[in-house]
């Protein structure tokens, strides 16, 4: 039985789904969190009780229908429950990136006009108190962890435990109108929730300009959660590790939407640093990570294998070769012959099993990566081990899912077929458009941007250029539509395409390629300190800092090899052969979100980098061999400093276009 809006009746809002889960999965775990070294759990019934108490407390404090409530902190069960408590009161949770600096936070809180904020700890309270002068609308701050806050002025501050206790205490108190209790007022608010009400507001990290508040309705989130849970056959017995920022739409879909819809357990790590250990202890069956995570993990495996004994190295390399040959095919359900199957099984016993166990990926049934392109070698490594890693393509504006790869049709170079309920269209310029039940309502207080992005028929521009493969129906993404440009010669310029190829080398952490409107391409490179540092150690190269290692001639030589190899591979693609890199330099600092060079989800902000390092860019094109530069940096505590360096500029060999032979 579905309502007109397309949702199951009685399950149109999170508080209502929570009531169903408490009844149906009452004694199953809803949340786990490691605290004081032990995994603590909340059953769905516990969660329902805690949400109710907190909602009563919030209502008692005067939370009004339609208010925005900022939620700031690392992934904590109480913060997830706080979001549902806020929804129970008819208000809208606005999760904010917990590592945002105070000014960024001030913008978001001011823009959404939050009266209440629920935060994790002293760090976040300090940030909010620092900006209260700019935020006259912020009335109450509720915090989870009281450590260090004892002596603060508590006129605005409230410990969450106290708010809950007060809620419980006053549940049966008669209200001012002497007609109803607090509990019955709350019940009315919860019951009034509909499918078209705003479920959550998420701020996009904004590769350009100010962040925009994406308004997502219950219909958007819940129908997407339902469709995607069915797509991957998610069950109540699944579990997921919630470690990605709560302000990111993916976490909201996985740890809230799908978890509530299917009733699976959300596990929160003890602290961001212990994520790897916690991953191993939990062994999630459903796992999401950005490509960066998988790259880092592979790098660390390779580094550790180099330090392993000869026998182990031999075993590892022998069986990894078998795995690369047949693993992905076995995973896709193809037949590979009895001998190979036996060899793979033996490898599983000796190498893959123990390795997956060490990585914490033994039980992963469905794994996703998205956000950036993943290197084919990296992708295949995990598939070869028998981990069902897939790709999806999504956006905040789509409630994540636009396309995803079905089991058995997984490839490194596509992002899959349209998700259930999604329609796709490619326009003349190559830009990808979609329409689905998950499509956002609007950008908050920004009708112009809404109109720019979403047309009257509900089609949304992704801003990405791509095409649909005719044979398979899979979507392939080339680059950001606005970044795809023309070089002076008229050849196509797709920087991301080249950057991704560069980043597939473990030694290269980040690359920024320039060339729009110019006659040749150049690049800024960031080395990966872990990989290159380990290499330096093994080769007895002493270095004191990132800057020194980045400027080392041998490092330059190594990076030059990588760049030239990429040039050869780029040359194979006739359309993009103009994008070969003729000159490059290695940056003297790591690109950092605190300096505004990356977004909080670690995507490069091309325009800002172009402006900030204008002197370096000029030097890349005027033929100089080295350049002296000074750059302002922001430390984690917000103080500013400057670093200066003399950077070497290298020429890299390019090759003429060598199109792949079509026919012999």
């Amino acid at each position: 039985m579905t309502t007109g809006a397309g949702l199951v009746e009685g399950l149109e809002t999170f508080p209502k789904i929570l009531a169903r889960n408490a009844e149906r999965f009452g004694s199953r775990p809803a949340y786990r969190e490691k605290a004081f070294g032990i995994w603590q759990s909340w059953t769905w019934a516990d969660a329902a009780r805690e949400v109710n108490a907190l909602a009563l407390g919030l209502l008692d404090m005067g939370l009004a229908k339609g208010d925005h409530v900022a939620i700031v902190g690392n992934n904590r069960p109480q913060l997830y429950m706080a979001m549902v408590a806020v929804q129970s009161c008819g208000a809208v949770p606005v999760p904010v990136y917990q590592d945002a600096v105070a000014e960024e936070m001030a913008y978001v809180l001011d823009h959404c006009g939050a009266r209440f904020a629920v935060v994790e700890d002293q760090e976040q309270v300090d940030k909010l108190l620092e900006i209260t002068a700019k935020l006259p609308g912020l009335e109450e701050i509720i915090y989870l962890d009281p450590r260090g806050l004892r002596k603060y002025d508590h006129s605005k501050l409230h410990p969450m435990a106290e708010v809950e206790a007060r809620g419980r205490e006053r549940a049966d108190d008669m209200q001012a109108d002497h007609a109803r209790t607090l509990q019955s007022r709350l019940d009315d608010r919860t019951a009034a929730g509909t499918a078209t009400d705003t479920c959550v507001m998420l701020y996009t990290s904004g590769t350009t300009g100010r962040p925009k508040g994406v308004v997502l309705s219950n219909l958007n989130i819940i129908s997407t959660a339902q469709a995607s849970s069915e797509f991957d056959h998610l069950k109540a017995s699944d579990s997921v590790l919630a470690y990605l920022p709560m302000a990111w739409v993916g976490d909201f879909i996985f740890s809230m939407g799908q978890s509530y819809w299917t009733g699976f357990c959300v596990c929160c790590p003890e602290s961001p640093e212990t994520m790897q250990t916690d991953l191993r202890e939990i062994g999630p069956s459903y796992f999401f990570a950005p490509p960066r995570f998988f790259e880092g993990l592979l790098t660390s495996v390779m580094i550790r294998m180099e330090d392993a004994s000869k026998l182990k190295q031999k075993l590892f390399h022998h069986y990894m070769k078998i795995a690369r040959d047949v693993g992905p095919r076995i995973l896709d359900g193809e037949s590979v012959g009895l001998i190979d199957r036996l060899r793979y099984a033996l490898g599983g016993l000796l190498v893959y099993g123990p390795l997956k166990n060490t990585l914490g990926l033994s039980r992963v049934r469905v794994g996703y990566t998205a956000g950036e392109a993943i290197g084919p070698e990296i992708f295949d490594f995990y598939r070869a081990l028998g981990i069902n890693l897939k790709q999806l393509y999504g956006q905040t504006e789509a409630s994540v899912f636009i396309t995803q790869q079905p089991d058995g049709q997984v490839r490194a170079d596509t992002v899959g077929v349209p998700s259930p309920g999604v329609e796709l269209r490619i326009d003349d310029t190559g830009e990808v458009f979609y329409r689905s039940p998950g499509v956002f309502v609007e950008y908050y207080k920004n009708p112009d941007s809404t109109a720019d992005t979403k047309d009257a028929e509900g089609w949304v521009a992704t801003g990405d250029a791509g095409f649909i493969e005719e044979a398979t129906g899979h979507l392939r993404i080339i680059d950001r539509a606005k970044d795809v440009g023309k070089m002076a010669s008229g050849a196509l310029f797709a920087p991301k395409y080249v950057e991704n190829k560069l980043k597939f080398y473990p030694n290269i952490l980040e690359a920024v390629v320039f060339g729009d409107g110019r006659d040749s391409c150049t690049a800024f490179i960031n080395i990966d300190l872990t990989a290159v540092g380990n290499w330096a150690e093994r080769n007895n190269i002493a270095y004191a800092s990132y800057q020194e290692l980045a400027g080392h001639p041998q490092v330059y030589a190594m990076i030059q090899d990588h760049v030239e190899e990429v040039n050869r591979s780029v040359a194979e693609d006739e359309m993009l052969s103009g994008c070969q890199i003729s000159r490059f330099l290695i940056l003297h600092k790591e690109l950092d979100a605190d300096d505004g060079e990356l977004t909080r989800t670690r995507k490069v902000r091309r325009r800002i980098i172009e402006e900030k390092f204008a002197d370096l860019l000029t030097a890349l094109y005027d033929g100089s061999q080295e350049i002296f530069t000074t750059t302002e940096v922001t430390y984690e505590d917000g103080r500013k400093g400057a670093i200066s360096a003399t950077l070497e500029i290298r020429d890299a060999a390019t090759v003429p276009a060598t199109p792949r032979e079509v026919a012999a």
Binding site: G37, K151, E270
Partner: protein, 271 residues
């Protein structure tokens, strides 16, 4: 000197009565006089620093408080009683814990195990009971582990809980050592150069933890430190030593303006 009235500091902490008092301490090693007739007191809940140039006798002073050295002259009063000469482990049982200038952890043991060793003064079960790990021994272990975990949480070292300390960087080892001292739930915590050899960021972290320990647990802290900036920032009162003598005693501001102290640190022109 009698216990003065308690008072509240500008940042809201309560400084209580005198908890330890050194009266006319003199310590000699053969003919060398390491400490010469020094008196000062440490009050409940305060952060008390002992500073001075190299060889001023700071570590000797800490070793006297700790019971490792026995002064030839003078008296030590602790909690209103004159203290008889004691061995360091007896003093540990009185509620005085310390860290060392050169880290003295068990390198092969994990962070957690190192912190658990700090609980030994609170363990009552004997070796045999622990070997069978039943009844009281098990309960005790659970209680001690709980306290150790609270300290791990407090010092934000969850990620190295199971890592052998020998593999940790220096700054973290220092933090583990502080954790082990805290595990004893001391009334008086002695820190011997807690920030020696650290970079600025590590120093800032350590300063924050020292202030938090004092604030959250109300632990009285006596520390020796070289870094004047840190000392002046975090301590309530400072004793300045030079060549085994006390040349200054008071709040950081008073000490900063004391001519003897300035001379000792900057040198005196010979004319």
């Amino acid at each position: 000197m009698s216990a003065a009235e308690s008072y509240v500091t500008a940042d809201g902490r309560t400084i209580g009565a005198t908890v330890m008092e050194m009266r006319n301490i003199t310590l000699r090693f053969g003919g060398v006089v390491a400490i010469k007739d020094i008196s000062f007191d440490i009050r409940e809940g305060e952060i008390r620093a002992i500073i001075g140039p190299n060889g001023a006798g700071k570590s000797s002073m800490l070793n006297v408080i700790n019971g490792f050295y026995h002064p030839q002259e003078g008296e030590i009063w602790f909690k209103g009683e004159k203290r008889a000469p004691m061995r360091p482990h007896e003093i540990a049982h009185q509620g005085i814990a310390r860290t060392f200038q050169n880290i003295a952890l068990f390198k092969g043991m994990s962070t957690l195990d190192n912190i658990m060793t700090g609980r030994f003064t609170h363990m009552k079960s004997n070796l045999l009971m622990q070997a069978f790990w039943k009844g009281p021994a098990e309960r005790e272990e659970v209680e001690n582990r709980e306290i150790a975990e609270k300290i791990i949480d407090f010092l934000e070292i969850q990620h190295i809980r199971k890592t052998p300390v020998g593999r940790l960087p220096y700054g973290l080892q220092k933090r583990v050592e502080l954790g082990r001292a805290l595990a004893a739930e001391p009334r008086l915590l002695l820190l011997d150069e807690p920030m020696a050899g650290m970079n600025v960021e590590e120093k800032e972290d350590m300063s924050r933890f020292i202030l938090d320990v004092n604030d959250e647990f109300g632990t009285t802290i006596a520390l020796i430190e070289h870094d004047m900036g840190v000392v002046m920032d975090i301590s309530d009162r400072v004793v300045v030593m030079d060549y085994g003598r006390k040349i200054g005693d008071g709040t950081p501001d008073e000490v900063r303006n004391n001519q003897d102290v300035i001379d000792a640190y900057l040198g005196v022109p010979h004319d």
